[in-house]
Structure formats: structure tokens, C-alpha cells
């Protein structure tokens, strides 16, 4: 708001002169970023038109052009406020009287440069200097001037904390150096980014994250589950540690009988060895790969003194799986935090700045390849044209007749119906095939292999083929390109997750078929399939799925993409040229990864070493994808916003995670374990009996504590607390968003005020605003008439447009503006005009006094009235 009472504007004609930012005596060399033409004439005429000099004297402009640049000194404001004068824009000259000019400049930007209490203050200032956008020499100069005076050392407790902070910082840098050396695939990443851009790179970063996670999972499984079982095989049998004291659902006798009954046919001829390897049967079945091999034993780890250390196998497996899930969740949460933070603050506005984002963020600065850059230029072009066309498309959509609308909606309905029908068919197929392959046996080992692999192959084929059909179908639906892309992706995600879910359901129905009353859980003849060890059966299914998944990846890259690249680049056929090489499909590749990861999560309980296969599979797929990115595919033409896709990937991964945890958790707490195999064989109700057994073995006090913690009231309290925290966070988020909106409005108003004041100043000094400005401002009016929306948005509180002021304002005098002496430093110069301050009258300065009444006498009285009548429409309250 313009305050109009009781202040004056001082204008000193001597200082009104073109101040070029190049004429800074302090600046050791030419200011950066200046265009070449103005450097040869020493500080005289610059590229800036003469008339704009007042504009360039505005503090914001000076900050931008000074050798320091705008800083983020606001950060330090809390500490520096006391050292600043009440009028922060032009602090009293005395305050800087004894200061070095460089430091004075820093001080003006709100950085504390003197009166340091101790070395920590100096340190903080030095940290701020790092964030200045000025040259290294300049920063070094600042630093040496700041550190030349001795300061008090920080003592006592604070000193200790300060030194620990420095140590921690040092350690962090050391750690970064260490990481830098160890960085996995760093050079490969650089090459990929150079050739394919940041979008494709984000896929590889995602792959690396998952790869590391899987290595961690694998190591945990190996150390806590597999190695103890293999190495320390002196079993103590079903001890009290395993059976618990007085808990229900422990049946040692049946377990012993059934374990004896469960035997695996191991054939030794070469063919069946290989077939068994592929399907996880025969000799493979009795290895540490599958859960059925592990026993419900307690292993003796050795004795220290009089105390025996024993390792309880079922408990170890149970806890390891839970820990793995928690680790996975933490890793994902960590990865998603950044994207989530961005999303919370910005979702509402992402659409508002489509064009700006397209222009300012479309070029990847890290790209090195010519091919990429030409494709990118094309892609930017297409993107822009499409966006321009799309806004037209939306308009035509609005003007559609009801007949056309009806036709479109029928078409969409039909397509959706078709897609649903296909999904339903696929689900039935998966269900049926899994049942078929479990029930059917064959004497021919090859046919048996085929039958065994039928579910995996069906799943792979459906996941491969249906998306292609979807892609064709979506074209009939006539959506905008952006929406079509999203919808297609959602459909594929649904297909992938649903197909796996159906497979799990079909397995569940097979496992729980009948009431399973037979002694050793073998199934009822005629009605149900006989499965001796269902844990291993599930493990085998996932083992086969992982193998198939892996083979499909390899084949797709080596047998499809490679030849396509060769054909399209080497042959001159027109058709082939038109098809072109395959394009790196980011969403598809990411979904493949998520699918593999999901298989790993679900399978790891039943097939503890499945993670080793996932690690290998990810490693191989990294090299294959690298090959694919570098050799066989072109960069994607569709623009992928790296950051947004990243949070999208993590979102899908989280969804997949919860979908995988659910079946695993369910089997742990409610399916009866096999009696003849596996580490839970002695528990006749559920796997989680091991927890009951362990608790029952604890001393009474601990036992009570556990029951207290797990009681309904305790859980409820925690739940309520969590909900409150979530509510608090979301409230804070929305409050921040409001602040952003308010600041946005304030920014708008401030700029209006500035324009208004500038116009006044020009008017009063009789000086011409820049010619360039006039020309562009006339275009403003053109745009205004063109776009109604703009008017609606901006007009409610119209600041006086400077253009109007110039158009019929006071007569512009052509008096030559006195030139400023070259050596004059703009920062030494007293301010040309002061911001409203009643005590601001200072003797000795030549000035033009414009008091309150002068304002009203000026010809443009109507503009100021508009300002005052219109502005209250949007009051700003802080």
C-alpha cells in the first residue's frame, strides 16, 4: 500500500546519473554476466538506456547487479537483526563508517560482518559466504577480511558442541569422499545421462537403490537364516525354547511322524538334474533354497561360562522377515520423502506453470550427445506445439454437441468394458492355469517342465501382450495426451499387480483346499491336490516366476531390441526407417523392476535365498539396460520430468510393498504350517506361535510388560497419537501453502507499488523512462485485450500502469542527465531516494522536496484514486 501521509521524497540531481554496474571500483575484475558490448567503453555508456537509471538504483536491482549478488542472508537475519539499523534498506552511513567497502557490501545484504561474539559467529558468516553468487576470488577476499581479526574462542559447553559440529562436518566430507570413490556405477551413470538425459537416468538410480536394498536383504537372510542352519548343525531337537511352556498348538509328535514321511524323489540322470534345477524340484527341493528344508530346531552356538547360547531357528526366520520388511519400508520412505515434500508444497500450482516449466526446465544441462540434443529439440518443439494445441483441444471439447458427447462417452464406455473383460479373462486364465499345472503330472520330464512353467509363462505373456492392446485401445478414447499417458500407466500397474494377486489367491485356494484333516497335511485324494509341503510349493512357484521374469528381460533386450536397432540403422528400407529403433520406455522398465521386487518380497519367506536371485537378476538387468540405453534404444521423445517420475516410481513401489506384505503377513498369522517340513512344523495352528512360545519362556516381569505393550489400550493410544501427528503435519502443510499464496500476492502488490512509485519519480524528475519499456508496455495492452483471463486474474487491484502515466503525463524534459564521475561508487553514494521515513530530512543534500500535497496536484490524480479505491478489494493481512 502506498502510504501518502507525512513523508517526503528527496531527490538529489547530482546523483541522478547512469550508474553502470561495471563501474565498481571494488570489483577486482569486470562484473560477471555482463554482455560483451559494454565492456570496452569504460563505465560510460552501457547497454542500459539512460532513462532507466533510477530503476537500476532500486535496492533490489542493485543487489542483483552488485558483485555480491542477492544472498540468502535472510537465513541469518535472526542473528544479525540487532546489528542492523531500523531502516534496513539504507542503513545509516555511520554504521559502516569504519568498514572495508567489501564488507560494507556484505553487510548491506544482511550478512553480519562485525561484532562477532566468538569464532562460531565467524564460522556461520563464512558458511553464508559460500552461498553468495560471486566469483571465487571475491569470496576469498571476503573470507580473508573476515578472518584477519582474532576472535574469542568458544569456551565451555557451547565450545564443545561447536567443535563436535566441526568434527561432524569434517566426518561428513570425509564420508562423501569415501562414497565418491565407492559410488556404484558412477561413470556408467554419467554416460547414460549424457546420452539419454535425466529421465532415463532416474530409472537407473531407482535400479541402483533397489539393487542395494536387495543386497542388504540377501546378506541379512544369509547371516541370520541360512548360515546358522548350514554351519551349526548340532541340533538340540524340539527344545522348550522352541515349543514354549504351556502354549497351545504345539504338536511335536505329529511333526516327527510327518517329517519321516516327507521325502523327496531325487533322480540323478543329467536331464532331470537340469529340469529339477529349473523347476526347483528333486534335488533342489532339499536345499536351503526353500523353507521346507529348515527345521524347527534350536541350535547350540557354544557355551560361555555356565551359559548356553542357543539359536532358535523359527524365531530367527520370523524376525528376519519382519526386519527385512521394516528396512525396505524405511528405505522407501527415505527415498520418497523428498518427492513427497515437493508434492505437498506444490501440487496445486504444478498446472499453473506448465509453460514456464516447459521452457525453463526442459533442457538437461548434463547431456553430451548430439543425437540426444536433436531429439530433445524435437521433443521440446512437439511438447510446446502439443501444449498449444491442447489448450485449443480443450476449447473444442467444451463446444461439443450433445450428440458428439454421447458418441464419445459410448466409445469410452465400450473401451473400458473391453479392458475390464480382458482383465477378467486374464484373471481366470491365471487361476485356471495355476490349478492345472499343480494337478497335472506327466512322465515325460520336458512336458512336465512345460506344465510346471505354464503359470509363469502365462503371467509373463499376459504382462507383455495386454499393455500393447491397451495402448491401441486408448487411442479410441480421445483423451488429452497427458491424461492418456497416466491412464495407460494406471491400467498397466493394475494388470501387473492384479495378475500376481490372482496367482496368490489361486495358490491360497489350493493350499487351504478341504479341511486338511489328514494327518500330515497331504491333502484329500480326489477333491484336492496332494501337497506335502506347501511352504516349499509356494517357494517353487515364486522361484519359477523369478526365473521366467529374468529370462523374459534378457530375451527382450537381446533378441528384440538389438536386432531392431541393427535393422533400422543398417538397412535402407523406408518402412524400417519409419519404425526406427526401440525407444527407452521408462515407465515400462520401472514397472518391470517393481514386479521383480514384489516377487522377491512375497517369495522371501518361502524361499529365503530368492533374494540372491533377485540380486543377480538386478545386476544382469543393469548391464542389459545399460547396453540397451547406450546401444539399442534411442532416448524417449516423450518428456519425462525426472523428479516427478521419481516420486511416482516410489509410490508404485510402496503400493507393491503393501500388496506383498499382506499375503506374507496373512500366512504368518492364520495358515496352518505344514507338519512334515519347515521351521514351523511343530506349530499346528500358525507360524506366529513361535512368538507366543518365546514370550512364554520369558521371565514373568518381562512377560507382563510384553502383554501390556501389545494390549488393545496401548495399541490404541499409539494409533491415536499417530493420527494426531498426521493431522498436525497436514495442518502445517496447508498453513504453509496459505503463506505461499499470501507472499505471492504480496510480491504482486510490491511490484505494483514499485511501478507506481517509479512512474511518479519519472514524472517528477521529468525524465524519460526507457524507450524499450514503452514499446513493451504497449504490448502489454495488446495482451490484455487478447486474454480475458488475465484481466480477470490481475485486474481486481490494478496498480497504475506506468504506460498510462508516460502517455499523457507531464512534459518530459530532455535535459541531459549529469554524468556520474567514473570513480564514484554507487554504494558510497548517498541514496537517491529514500523510502518513507519521517525523520529522514538531512541537511546538506541538494534535494527536491515533494510533499504530500504535491502528490495530489499532479495531473495524474485519477491513477492514484484508482489505486486507493481498488486495492482494498484484496486486503493483505499478515
Amino acid at each position: 500500500m502506498v502510504q501518502r501521509s507525512g513523508y517526503s521524497i528527496y531527490l538529489s540531481p547530482v546523483q541522478i546519473c547512469p550508474i553502470s554496474s561495471t563501474a565498481l571500483p571494488q570489483s577486482p575484475s569486470k562484473k560477471r554476466g555482463e554482455i560483451r558490448s559494454d565492456t570496452n567503453d569504460e563505465g560510460g555508456i552501457t547497454h542500459k538506456s539512460k532513462g532507466n537509471h533510477i530503476f537500476s538504483l532500486l535496492p533490489s536491482k542493485q543487489a542483483l547487479t552488485s558483485f555480491v549478488g542477492i544472498t540468502m542472508a535472510r537465513k541469518q537475519e535472526s542473528t544479525s537483526r540487532k546489528s542492523r539499523s531500523p531502516n534496513a534498506v539504507y542503513p545509516e552511513a555511520e554504521e559502516y563508517g569504519d568498514l572495508d567497502p567489501d564488507l560494507k557490501e556484505l553487510s548491506k545484504r544482511g550478512i553480519r560482518v562485525k561484532n562477532f561474539d566468538d569464532e562460531e559467529d565467524v564460522y556461520k558468516t563464512l558458511q553464508l559466504i559460500k552461498t553468495l553468487p560471486c566469483s571465487l576470488q571475491q569470496k576469498r577476499k571476503f573470507r580473508s577480511k573476515l578472518t584477519d581479526k582474532p576472535v574469542k574462542k568458544v569456551g565451555g559447553c557451547a565450545g564443545w558442541a561447536y567443535r563436535r559440529k566441526l568434527d561432524w562436518k569434517k566426518f561428513k566430507i570425509g564420508f562423501r569422499e569415501f562414497q565418491y570413490q565407492l559410488e556404484l556405477w558412477g561413470t556408467a551413470f554419467k554416460k547414460i545421462e549424457g546420452q539419454q538425459g535425466a529421465g532415463v537416468l532416474s530409472y537407473f538410480v531407482f535400479l541402483r537403490t533397489l539393487f542395494k536394498l536387495n543386497i542388504a536383504i540377501f546378506v541379512l537372510m544369509l547371516i541370520f537364516v541360512t548360515l546358522p542352519a548350514i554351519v551349526n548343525f548340532s541340533s538340540n531337537g524340539y527344545t522348550v525354547a522352541v515349543t514354549g511352556t504351556g502354549i497351545g498348538g504345539v504338536d511335536v509328535a505329529t511333526a516327527q511322524t510327518c517329517s519321516a514321511n516327507y521325502d523327496v524323489n531325487i533322480s540323478t540322470d543329467a536331464a532331470s538334474l537340469i529340469v529339477d534345477f529349473l523347476q526347483g524340484t528333486g534335488w533342489m527341493e532339499s536345499t536351503a533354497l526353500f523353507l521346507g528344508w529348515y527345521d524347527a530346531n534350536e541350535y547350540s552356538m557354544g557355551t560361555v561360562g555356565s551359559h548356553n547360547f542357543n539359536y532358535i531357528m523359527p524365531l530367527a526366520i520370523f524376525l528376519t522377515v519382519i526386519v527385512i520388511f521394516i528396512i525396505s519400508l524405511v528405505v522407501m520412505a527415505q527415498a520418497s520423502v523428498k518427492g513427497f515434500r515437493e508434492n505437498i508444497a506444490k501440487t496445486g500450482d504444478a498446472v499453473r506453470y506448465t509453460y514456464n516449466v516447459k521452457l525453463f526446465c526442459s533442457w538437461d544441462y548434463s547431456v553430451t550427445e548430439e543425437l540426444w540434443s536433436t531429439i530433445k529439440q524435437k521433443s521440446v518443439y512437439k511438447d510446446i506445439v502439443a501444449e498449444l494445441a491442447e489448450s485449443k483441444f480443450r476449447k473444442t471439447r467444451k463446444n461439443m454437441t450433445s450428440n458428439q458427447k454421447c458418441g464419445l462417452y459410448t466409445k469410452r464406455f465400450l473401451v473400458n468394458f473391453l479392458i475390464l473383460a480382458m482383465l477378467g479373462g486374464a484373471a481366470y486364465l491365471i487361476f485356471y492355469v495355476q490349478k492345472f499345472s499343480t494337478e497335472t503330472t506327466s512322465s515325460d520330464s520336458f512336458v512336465l517342465l512345460l506344465i510346471q512353467y505354464l503359470p509363469s509363462i502365462t503371467l509373463g505373456a499376459l504382462n507383455g501382450l495386454l499393455p500393447i492392446i491397451f495402448e491401441v485401445l486408448i487411442k479410441f478414447e480421445d483423451y488429452t495426451t497427458q491424461f492418456a499417458m497416466k491412464l495407460h500407466l494406471i491400467r498397466i500397474v493394475f494388470l501387473k499387480l492384479a495378475s500376481l494377486a490372482v496367482l496368490i489367491i489361486s495358490m491360497y485356494s489350493i493350499i487351504t483346499c478341504g479341511t486338511r484333516t489328514t494327518t500330515c497335511n497331504v491333502g484329500i485324494p480326489d477333491t484336492c491336490t496332494a501337497i506335502t509341503c506347501w511352504e516349499t510349493y509356494v517357494g517353487q512357484t515364486f522361484y519359477k516366476l523369478v526365473v521366467t521374469d529374468f529370462l523374459i528381460h534378457v530375451v527382450a533386450i537381446l533378441a528384440v531390441e538389438g536386432p531392431r536397432m541393427l535393422l533400422t540403422s543398417k538397412c535402407d528400407s523406408k518402412l524400417l526407417k519409419k519404425i526406427g529403433p526401440a525407444v527407452f520406455d521408462i515407465p515400462k522398465s520401472v514397472l518391470e523392476l517393481v514386479y521383480s521386487q514384489m516377487l522377491c518380497w512375497i517369495g522371501l519367506l518361502y524361499c529365503p535365498l530368492i533374494t540372491s536371485m533377485t540380486v543377480i537378476s538386478f545386476l544382469v538387468s543393469f548391464f542389459l539396460k545399460y547396453l540397451s540405453a547406450m546401444k539399442t534404444t534411442g532416448p524417449p521423445e516423450k518428456p519425462y520430468r525426472a523428479s516427478r517420475t521419481n516420486s511416482f516410481f516410489i509410490g508404485i513401489l510402496l503400493l507393491a510393498f503393501f500388496l506383498s506384505v499382506f499375503p506374507v503377513g496373512y500366512t504368518m498369522v492364520s495358515i496352518r504350517p505344514s507338519t512334515g517340513c519347515g521351521p514351523f512344523r511343530i506349530y499346528s495352528t500358525q507360524m506366529s506361535s513361535i512368538i507366543d512360545a518365546t514370550i512364554s519362556n520369558l521371565p514373568t516381569s518381562l512377560n507382563n510388560l510384553v502383554s501390556l505393550i501389545t494390549s488393545a489400550s496401548a495399541v490404541l493410544t499409539v494409533l491415536v497419537a499417530l493420527i494426531i501427528v498426521i493431522y498436525f503435519c497436514s495442518a502445517r502443510g496447508s498453513a504453509y501453502n496459505n503463506v505461499v499464496k499470501m507472499l505471492e500476492e504480496q510480491l504482486m502488490m510490491e511490484s505494483r507499488d514499485k511501478q507506481f512509485l517509479m512512474a511518479r519519480v519519472y514524472e517528477l524528475t521529468g525524465e524519460k523512462p526507457a524507450a524499450r519499456k514503452k514499446e513493451t508496455l504497449s504490448t502489454v495492452n495488446e495482451t490484455k485485450t487478447k486474454s480475458k483471463k488475465m484481466e480477470a486474474e490481475v485486474e481486481p487491484c490494478p496498480g497504475p500502469s506506468p504506460h498510462n502515466l508516460y502517455a499523457d503525463g507531464p512534459v518530459v524534459s530532455d535535459d541531459p542527465v549529469p554524468a556520474m564521475p567514473e570513480e564514484k561508487d554507487p554504494f558510497h553514494a548517498p541514496p537517491v531516494y529514500r523510502s518513507p521515513s519521517p525523520s529522514g530530512s538531512r541537511a546538506g543534500t541538494p534535494k527536491i522536496l515533494v510533499n504530500n500535497t504535491d502528490w495530489d496536484e499532479t495531473p495524474r490524480i485519477n491513477t492514484s484514486t484508482t489505486t486507493h479505491t481498488a486495492q482494498p478489494a484484496k486486503p493483505l493481512e499478515f
Binding site: 554482455i35 547431456v367 506445439v385 513493451t776
Partner: protein
Amino acid sequence: MGASQSVFSEEELQDYQELTYFTKKEILHVFKIFRDLSPRDVDRDRNVKLNEDLVMSLPELKMNPFKDRIVRVFSSEEGCLTFEDFLDMMSVFSEKAPKEIKAQYAFKIYDFDGDDEISRDDLKKMVLRLCPSQKDTELKKQEVDRLVGEILKEADLDNDDRLSFSEFQHVISKAPEFESSFRIRL
């Protein structure tokens, strides 16, 4: 890297580490890249001023439509870059540099005429550099005008037909992509 290790003393490296967003090893890596531009000159004098054109031939910059602007913005002396300028440039483009600094330099880069505001002409220049006219991808003049109009409509809050730094910063704060695109991997 063996050769460059001896070039800097431990203090110098410490100094650079304090002033940039790099660790010592990364600084040596940057020096290696710098040296590779012109091994003979750099070996003779570490503080040699390399010609802009030479720096622009860096693979990361070669393809960049704004390479001349980037080099100009970071050169402390007319048409030449010293190692420190180069280091500063890589530091700004590094992953660790905060968004605010990147935004400031981006603003300088896109401000072609150096009037500390991104005007309609600057925007037009930018568009034409991003999609240079080729035979199948040529933006019509009308399209460019419309695009620039849309951009200003979105971002020009104070309606003065140009983007000031604060308006630009505001846009950047709403575009999470900016950080990942305004980056050069070491």
C-alpha cells in the same frame, strides 16, 4: 590424477573445498577435466586463462543451446575462464549446490541482454534456441508469440510484461524438475 595431485597443495584444496560445494577429490576431478581442455597450457601455468571457445567445446557444454551465456556468466574476465571460474561453474552445476544459487545463475544465463530482467525478447530468444528452426520442426512466429504470451501470463505476477528475478525464483520454486535439469554430473 597423479599429475594433478601435485598441482595443488593441501591448503589450496582445503581453500577450494571451503569455497565450493565440492570435496577435495571432486576438485581434483574438476581440475582434470579442466586440464584435458588444453593439457599443454594448463601444465605450463595452472592459472592460465582458457579461451571461451575452448571451454565451450567441453562435451557437457557443446550441445547446450545456452553455452555461450553460461561461459559468459561465469567468466571473470572478458572471453576467458580461469580454473577458478571453471571450478565455480562446476560447483554451481553440482548436485550439492542449493536451488537458490542455481536459480540465480539460471536467471543470469537466460537474461540475454543483461538488464536483470527476462523480457519478452529474452524469452523469444530462449524459445528459438531451444527449438532452432529445422525443416520439420519450425515454430511459427505466431506460435512463438503465443508461447511467450502464455509464459508471461503464468509467471508475470506484477503484469509489467517481463519476469523479474523474484518472479523467476517463484516459478523455479514451483518446478521441482529444475534441480535435476540444471545440473552437470561430474
